[in-house]
């Protein structure tokens, strides 16, 4: 990493619930660069969702700090969009009104036409123009999650936080939406922090993958650099031998190493590894330079 402060910097974050002897996690350190897609993987109970909620400003940590753009995160902000695990759409509003609710929050002085134009653009982005006036209850699970994604993108946050957004979807739907997310992120150069339980999803989407050890006292034990080329395709991903090296590394960690690193046995400053490239010179940064935020026109 460069010496200049990262876009998002997490320092010595810890969370202890009242009455517990050990913190759920402590000494969590990592950073996210602008335009980077970072996934976090770990077993249930290691505090991933708590970390994400702290980043979102919805929860507070017991210790440690989160800085975005060198300013401390102290509460929710329109700069950080969240896609919730259970879509969290308001069932009494249509797709259009759900997204318009977010758009009006960000730009309160826009007139009706501006809001509608903006809403329609983002609904089209996730391919739901035909369903724009339907209520969430009339949509399938995958469509609802798409609306959730469109709502988060529509406010053009500087950072997007996704809490296992595809967990409840079937494999086929998940694949389609993953492709969509990949395309949208490539178009918008969105900075993303995402929780997932799916190793393949992480390899498909992420530039770097944070591996968390088991709780209690979980930590980010290792950071895996995704050495696959950025232009990844779900259809061809598994033909690349490098894919299996990364995948094996991740699965090995989750199956055999993460439990042994509980109770604070993981390092506080996680090493960054590039599986499959140990014997080769360290790889060039797959993302050359932080790209300034650009939006779909």
């Amino acid at each position: 990493m460069s010496s200049e402060p990262a876009f998002l910097q997490v320092e010595a974050l810890a969370k202890r619930f009242a009455g517990a002897t050990e913190p759920v996690f402590d000494e969590v350190n990592f950073s996210v660069a602008q335009g980077e897609f970072v996934c976090i993987i770990g077993h249930s109970g290691c505090g991933k969702t708590t970390i994400l909620n702290v980043l979102a400003g919805l929860d507070t940590a017991s210790a440690g700090h989160v800085f975005m753009d060198q300013r401390e995160v102290a509460g929710p902000s329109l700069e950080r969009g969240v896609v919730f695990q259970g879509h969290a759409l308001m069932p009494w509003l249509s797709v259009r009104s759900n997204i318009a609710f977010a758009v009006r929050s960000k730009w309160p002085d826009w007139n009706r036409a501006q809001v509608q134009e903006h809403v329609e653009r983002y609904v089209a982005m996730v391919g739901l123009s035909a369903a724009i006036d339907q209520k969430p209850s009339q949509l399938s699970g995958g469509m609802k999650q798409r609306v959730g994604i469109a709502r988060a993108f529509a406010i053009q946050p500087r950072m997007l936080l996704l809490d296992e957004p595809f967990g409840a979807l079937d494999a086929l739907t998940r694949g389609t939406i993953q492709d969509e997310l990949l395309r949208i992120c490539a178009e918008t150069h969105q900075t993303v922090f995402m929780i997932t339980h799916d190793v393949d999803e992480a390899i498909l989407l992420a530039d770097r993958i944070l591996l968390m050890s088991n709780g209690p006292q979980a930590r980010v034990a290792e950071i895996v650099r995704n050495t696959m080329p950025r232009a990844r395709m779900r259809a061809t991903l598994h033909h690349d031998p490098q894919y299996y090296r990364i995948r094996n590394h991740l699965v090995d960690f989750l199956v055999s190493r993460s439990a042994g690193l509980a109770h604070g046995r993981a390092p506080a400053q996680p090493p960054e590894v590039s599986p499959g490239l140990h014997d080769e010179p360290p790889p060039a940064d797959p993302r050359p330079q932080p790209v300034p935020l650009r939006r779909i026109a």
Binding site: L58, L78, F84, A88, M90, F101, S137
Partner: protein
């Protein structure tokens, strides 16, 4: 024709109605022999008493059996046509049309209920939003809620010193609790994730209250309003019997004092129909704000 469930249910309802009317008719039919049997021969004292009360037993004798018995269907029908043809006449304090009496009752209910809603819904919002206020007010609500609304009547009459306003107060006090409790419950149980959405979007408190919490809690609030309206309509009849003057409850009591059972029965039916209409109105409102998750 009889294949749809609705049609069959309607037919069954009609049959049941006819059975009830048939039993009524049979029970009130004067048996062939009895009319000839004269009513209990009156003792001289009773005749004396009747004359003192302004009644001449000898003139009344023919009409007496039919008048003192349960009304027949024909008497009911004539009472109904009388009331329906002239609902709004006003011949002084004790002789007003049924429609006029109903209007008095409905106005009292509307006033008491409206005041209760004006207080209960905002207060319920505050209680639902704040766990502190919720716990602080809970003992009061738990004690005040089970009190029969009519138990407030003496206190209301003493402090307000106006029987009509006391009636309104009783409606107010009985309809406030379900609305208050349901509003607080609905507001306190708005799904956390919707509130989190509002928080991440930096939605201001007032906008959050009106655009997130209110629509989310609206079905629960409307349920409370519907229950309250049901109770208010039950209580107004009893309250008007107590305070007198005007209203459908007073009408029932007055007709009972007149021993005019057809009027009493017709008024009972009207109370039921109006209660049903009020409930249907709220059911429709409830349907309008209900959402499918």
């Amino acid at each position: 024709m009889l294949h749809s469930l609705n049609a069959r249910a309607a037919l069954l309802s009609l049959v049941l109605l006819l059975i009830v009317l048939g039993v009524w008719h049979a029970a009130t039919l004067s048996p062939a022999g009895t009319p000839t049997v004269a009513p209990q021969p009156l003792t001289p004292e009773q005749i004396e008493y009747a004359k003192l009360m302004g009644k001449d037993p000898s003139a009344d004798a023919a009409a007496a059996p039919a008048k003192s018995g349960f009304p027949t269907l024909a008497q009911m029908a004539s009472a109904a046509t009388k009331h329906l043809s002239q609902p709004f006449y006003d011949n002084g304090p004790n002789d007003k049309g049924l429609g006029l009496q109903l209007a008095h009752s409905l106005a009292r209910v509307a006033l008491g209920y409206g005041l209760a809603a004006l207080i209960a819904i905002p207060l319920g919002f505050v209680i639902g939003m704040s766990p502190l206020v919720y716990r602080a007010l809970d003992p009061f609500i738990q004690v005040l809620k089970p009190i029969s609304p009519l138990a407030w009547m003496p206190l209301a009459l003493y402090t307000i010193k106006d029987s009509s306003i006391s009636g309104v107060f009783v409606i107010f006090i009985c309809s406030i609790w379900p609305m208050l409790i349901n509003t607080a419950f609905g507001v306190a149980n708005v799904r956390r994730e919707w509130l989190n959405v509002a928080r991440t979007l930096e939605v201001r408190p007032l906008r959050r209250a009106f655009e997130v919490v209110l629509p989310a809690a609206a079905p629960t609030i409307l349920t409370g309003m519907r229950i309250s309206m049901g109770i208010a309509w039950l209580v107004i009849v009893a309250a008007e019997m107590l305070v007198g003057g005007t209203g459908i409850g007073y009408f029932v009591w007055n007709e009972w004092n007149n021993l005019s059972l057809p009027n009493v029965i017709f008024a009972i039916l009207v109370i039921g129909v109006v209660g049903m209409a009020l409930d249907a109105l709220f059911a429709r409102l409830q349907k309008a704000v209900t959402y499918v998750e």
